[in-house]
Symmetry: C2
Subunit: 263 residues, 2 copies
């Protein structure tokens, strides 16, 4: 590992910490794991961790902070979760109240930060295998849908799985299963291929989150469990306060994508 590669994530986080990068993080610190953030009070931490453990496809845990600490000791020991994400969203009693670039003033001794794997890692693996990704080609967000696939309940946390969709040829879909199966810590294999109605999606052209993409003749929709799921489920519990990243504005870890492949 060259010095440049080793310091890249910390350098990027330094720029973000000084509020000099307020845009989405896609493409930054190439080759390193980026993560979704969910911050919850510690009285919900055991149940939420158990929810994630029971639902590893939508909620792959990358790191969890100890109550009160803003430091993800395993994923990025020099980082501070209160400042190192370009934009945060704050929800009070399940309602979105504000967008901030720093949440230091909101972080108290009860806060537990959960870093959850995101699709950037497996998308990099798909691209390396020459599988084109439509929403990247079209310069928009990935389309996401609520489904009828239930998550496994844990205490107060329950709700439907949210999926992201990437259209591709049937040949590429088989290769995509192989490629993404290597990365169970960042959503892993698809949860569904083909008929969207079978998982409760009435219209692919009307995603619940993100943007619509073109599906070409001869292509099949491939669905992966999505990191929006745990946020949606947690919001439903209406915690006093919950902090997340703003969509696309992820936390950049010191961990390399390849460290998370299983074979």
């Amino acid at each position: 590992m060259s010095t440049k590669e080793a310091i890249a994530p910390a350098e990027v986080r330094g720029i973000i910490r000084q509020n000099q990068w307020l845009k989405p993080t896609s493409g930054l610190a190439h080759g390193y794991i980026q993560a979704n953030l969910a911050v919850l009070p510690k009285d919900l931490a055991f149940e939420f961790l158990l929810f994630c453990q029971r639902n590893p496809k939508p909620c792959p845990i990358i790191d969890v902070t100890m109550p009160g600490s803003p430091v993800p000791a395993l994923a990025a020991p020099s980082a501070d979760l209160r400042t190192d994400i370009p934009k945060y969203r704050v929800y009070r009693n399940g309602i979105f109240t504000e967008e901030l670039t720093d949440v230091t003033e909101l972080w108290d001794d009860s806060m537990v930060g959960f870093l959850i794997g995101c699709s950037f890692t497996f998308e990099e693996a798909l691209l390396k295998n020459d599988i084109p990704i439509r929403h990247i080609e079209e310069g928009c967000n990935v389309p996401m849908y609520k489904t009828t696939i239930p998550t496994v309940k844990a205490g107060r946390f329950e709700g439907p799985t949210v999926v992201s969709m990437r259209p591709m040829t049937e040949k590429d879909a088989i290769r995509a299963v192989q490629v993404t199966s290597r990365f169970p810590s960042v959503h892993g294999a698809p949860v569904h291929i083909g008929n969207p109605e079978a998982i409760g999606i009435p219209d692919l052209n009307n995603p619940d989150f993100g943007d619509k993409v073109t599906i070409r003749e001869g292509e099949v929709p491939v669905f992966w469990a999505c990191g929006v799921t745990p946020q949606a489920v947690a919001m439903h519990v209406k915690p006093d306060i919950m902090i997340t990243h703003a969509p696309g504005h992820m936390f950049i870890t010191d961990l390399k994508n390849e460290q998370f492949s299983i074979l």
Copy 2:
């Protein structure tokens, strides 16, 4: 799935519940996941769950009960963790105090039961691949050793990894890596092959737990992370009370081994 296969684990648990089977569970309910048990008070549950999440090789979580509930809702919804294990061990402030066949009277509203994967599952996979297992051939317990391989700390929980050892030919060792990599939820791939001193084991003939086995000419020792690790680590924290299974006397789930293979 035939009816006989479907009811086998529940039938076996029924016999155990009536104290009509007080022996080790190896070989019972063939093809079903058996699990280690660790029961801890709920004030330690978040940290212990996080410890397991950070150390999936020694501590692969199969199921966790909600505080106070003795029912492992995912692993065996008709079971009762207070009665369905042949023999329990009780530790108070980290010291072994009693062996019981039923822990109903000790189970209060604060208890959280953790079911952790055990090596029976991957041993079955090794045998299916014609890889002989010495301690089964010799009719004794698998040899286990404390190592210098650290676990990843989570709050109060920290300590060395305990490993189990199976000697085999070098050819079989390669196949064993492939076979057990398919089962990350039950310890997964070996943590070490070869020189025991490299992981802090001075003498293979003096295991810290279990029994010594014969190592033949041309064989290499293969080490797997062991489910004794989380118990040893938890005992070090000296909880007011901790309940475990007695060695070899496991909890039999309704989950099939093959459900836990990743590829």
